[in-house]
Symmetry: C2
Subunit: 200 residues, 2 copies
């Protein structure tokens, strides 16, 4: 706009770079901070710089950590023979909240997408194969998203891993708990039929 | 949660303090920055500190500025005999976009709200009265919001200003352009009837 003071315009521009933050929301955030105590801006700035300086990828699973290795990789309580492969770090935390999975993870940092020009070399695929070769792994659970990209990634990696004598599995697809059959999309319904199981 | 690295938890907490940003959105923003180039965090941090250090209130109208006085107060092209009173700085920019108003502004930084314990002393009311006393003002346009708080503020300030021999006006209330009469609320409809004008 150029009608705000330059420093505010710049802060709005920086907020606008964040996902899901349009120019109007960015302006609301910037003016909130202008009216808030100056310490709020200091605190947010400090928090940003702490993440920039302290957080890095775990060299083993490529999750985020502020230690040498991540908490999961350095834990003695995890089953080191099962690796759950996810697209993004946040998927790990979603799965951890279930307290169901006790193995290790591997973060690909993306999924194969020919349309977007993202190939196996652009994700942590080679690192996964190397890791599987160097460790005694029994099963790899492909927990990539049920999207064309996530499927392509699971199929591609599965094709590389199975010949290594490692079992490769894929998360079940179906109707989410609490959802309505009426409103489920066709592909999900087809997957739900395919994956149907006998009532116990 | 405490399941993320500490630095990320702290950044999520800081983002969550912003209006309209819940914990999930804050986590999305934080992880976006973790995956983005480190310069993105540096740039946002720099922008925050620039606002903290450079932006302050205009001593005349209490809008925001990075200069001594704001652009509007220091402009030679504005009608200095009319003051438009608004609750927040952002209202100024909304009005400026119309290019209709050529006078000066006064930002109250709030509105009177007995329920929230906000009285005349908590907003820039005394500063407005002093300013009116020291300058040759013809009209004060009350552009506070058409809410109970904005109305109370307009009525209260009007009662102080009118005895000074200054005309006090209030922005028109009615059905917004493009809206549907069918969906207008009752109070807006009543105000629209009260404020009806002959068809030219």
């Amino acid at each position: 706009m150029g009608i705000y003071p330059k420093a505010i315009d710049r802060l709005i521009a920086e907020f606008s770079k964040l996902p899901g933050i349009g120019e109007k929301t960015a302006a609301r955030l910037a003016f909130h901070l202008v009216d808030a105590p100056a310490s709020d801006m200091t605190d947010l700035s400090d928090a940003l710089l702490a993440v920039r300086d302290k957080v890095h990828l775990c060299p083993e699973c490529f999750s985020v950590t502020d230690g040498e290795r991540c908490d999961i990789c350095s834990s003695a309580d995890r089953d080191r023979s099962v690796i759950c492969v996810v697209e993004n770090t946040r998927d790990i935390f979603a799965i951890e909240r279930t307290r169901e999975f006790g193995g290790l993870y591997h973060v690909l940092h993306g999924a194969i997408s020919p349309i977007e020009g993202i190939g196996p070399k652009d994700i942590k695929a080679r690192e996964l194969i190397m890791r599987l070769g160097q460790n005694d792994i029994r099963e790899v659970i492909m927990a990539t998203n049920p999207t064309p990209e996530g499927e392509a990634t699971a199929v591609y990696l599965g094709g590389l891993i199975r010949p290594m004598g490692i079992e490769v599995t894929r998360l079940a697809k179906g109707i989410p708990i609490g959802a309505d059959v009426e409103f489920a999309d066709e592909v999900t319904l087809i997957k739900a039929f395919e994956g149907r199981s006998p009532i116990a």
